[in-house]
Amino acid sequence: MAELTGWLLDIYTGEEGLTIWLLDEAGERRCLHQAFPVSFYVASPAGQLAGGRAPDLRAAWRWLASQKEQIHLTRAERRDLFAGSLPVLSIEVQRPGDLPGLFRRFSSAFPNLTFYDADLPISLRYAAVFGVFALCHCRVELQGNQVKAITALDSPWDLDPEYPPLRVLGLEPDCNPAHAEPKGVIFSYSGYRYRLPFEPVRGLLANLNAVLRMVDPDLILTNWGDTWLLPKLLELSKDNPLLLNRDPAATITRKAQRTYYAYGQVIYRGAQMHLAGRWHIDTCNAVMYHDYGLDGIFELARVTGLPVQTVARVSPGTGISSMQIVTALRQGILVPWHKQQAEASKSLLDLVHADMGGMVYQPTIGLHENVAEVDFVSMYPSIMAHFNISPETVLLGEYNPRTGLPITRSEPGLVPETLQPLLEKRIAIKSQLLVLPKWDPRRKRYKAAASAHKWLLVTCFGYLGYKNARFGRIESHEAVTAYGREILLRAKEAAEDLGFEVLHLYVDGMWIKKPGSVTVADFQPLLDEIVTRTGLPIGLDGVYRWVAFLPSRMDARIPVANRYFGVFQSGEIKVRGIELRRHDTPDFIKELQQQMLDILARAPDAEQARGLLPQVQALVRRRLADLKRGRVPPEKLIVRQTLSRELDAYRSPSPTAVAARQLAEYNKDLRPGQVVRFVYTLGKPGVRAWDIPGELDARTIDVSRYSTLLERAAETILQAFLSKGIETGLPLLSNLFCSNKAPVLQE
């Protein structure tokens, strides 16, 4: 028996058992195989188990025994998360590739049965059994190319795992296919960069194959590869196959495009192209690629157990539910195929108490100095872990208006168990980031990992209440927000007891000030007190030199929760909810707001910042003049908006819809969730889609419309300084009343 160490690249089901790609320490890419029988379970629907008899299961047994697939049937007892121990029929399928087909026929023949573990990704089953995941450093024992045993040499929770030396080939069309027809393909590897024209096709394919053979990449990193380039290359290479797959026995997997609605947004996902034996990642179709990049994708693959190509393209919600599935498999808990759990009934009054989100205050409008922002660290996940909140730990008992339904702490819940190591790793990475010097190469990877973890943790809370989540239950979701409100109020009370004024509360953050409290150390006693009273970790985000909470644009008397900007003592600028942060704001206006803030951030306090206002106003006047004299490049005036529905469904012709229609005339059909780019123009129809052929005549740009946008954006910043509602550190009591004076808007 031979032994080998290396990194796991990919696992998928092959002809017989599993196909496993390993990059060994000598740098060789090995294609290995392993027998890996998989099981799924079936139970009688609840209520039909009277007298321990299960007539349906007997019929199911007879049906299964007559099928052609190699299976092994047994009776077993397994644990359902909610129903407890259940008698089930266990179906062990010898070849994992047979399971999907068999299950499809079986579930349509016996639609009334309850199925478990039926549709789990193979990599999660593998991770649950062997503790091995994509990019895991591991040791295998081999007989020929058959894997006999495999052990992990590192864990997903290691801070600095050793990464394999990967070979990467970049591939992209020579222009954005949404804008024009590309004429060639650009490929790049280890510092080289070439362009090959699509014509003649034979030359292109021969050259591409030569490059693929020579580089033999582990990762093909493309732009528009999913949606355009790979489909195009496959079409061109119908008669003369390309060596895109490393595994010649496997086919390229295509997944269709789709549009869906999540977190109040319409989201578009392009079609997908998955390769076998190497990875294909399309940077334009990967989720959050701009946020955490390849480092984040690799980190997600390690902690979730999903394959690299999958994890690059799925939402963080899928990531967190994968982690829960692995926990469940390890603990022998059944993973339902379709969730059965319904919401328990509650009284109207209980519903009024339970159906609430986080606590969101209306901040005290105006400019405030020496304000500290304190945030609970990953508040909702910490609450789940700290108070053991999980779908199965919420008991149906008497409702407590403060904390909701009672929670059992006798056994650790599935969700807290899954979250705990992730939270610990996140805190470890965050504290590393605080102490590592700026030049340290680990910073980039840590930042990407922290960002990837953040999204897993954020969605984890949402999935507790999502009706289709396998381990979701609305009562546990409500319990989390109830604890969240309780904890934020305790923090507020602690702050007020210590003499701080609370300017704003926002779900897991608090903005406070007290005359004389200026440095980080001045706020430390409060942080300690909050930790004592709540039991949850809280951190100081920073102390602002000044921060401005802005009123609503509709009514200057009404504050809005998430519209503010300020400058920390470090000089760092923090901005929320204003034009600069909005995706649809033209670059020209974003740049102006950024420059205005940059000027103000030079001053050490609010008084001196006010002294810089003439400079800021002069800047605004210069930019306005630039606009009117046509000195602004048109591409900086592009407005980007997401198409929220099908074109026929728009009742009134919004600028977005008009621009999308213009594109449709040129056969560029956009789906909901895709972005439309346009500029405002004079006369009818008032907009021009940016991506239609032909040059934009600069004289048709609607300058007055852009002037209005610019003036409004400038005013957002200036109003905080020019209004009378500026706080100047008066005694606490009268400070409280200053909040009544709304700043005077100059509209």
Binding site: Y263, G264, L348, L349, L351, V352, H353, D355, M356, G357, M359, V360, Y361, Q362, P401, R485, L489, L505, D555, R557, I558, P559, S734, L736, F737, S739, N740
Partner: protein, 90 residues
Amino acid sequence: MGRTLPSITQEFLQEQASFARFRRALRRSDQIALDDLFASAHKHIAAAGYAAHALPFETFLLAMLLEEHKQVILLRQQMDEKLRLPPGNG
């Protein structure tokens, strides 16, 4: 987004809208004062939400009263200061 009950902000706007006919029939100057009252209640919307009262408008009325009372305290304080000042300095 898939809510069973309207949020406290929706509730507030509905209550405000339900007085549209009342508001319309008021004099312009009274309309402005009424809008002020609603704006002052809006400041306490988070607390009203947390209270989860079955009849939220009662909480909004109390919030208006609260802001009014703050004004009274403030005015009284200013009066006291004025009266305490020696003559000639006011």
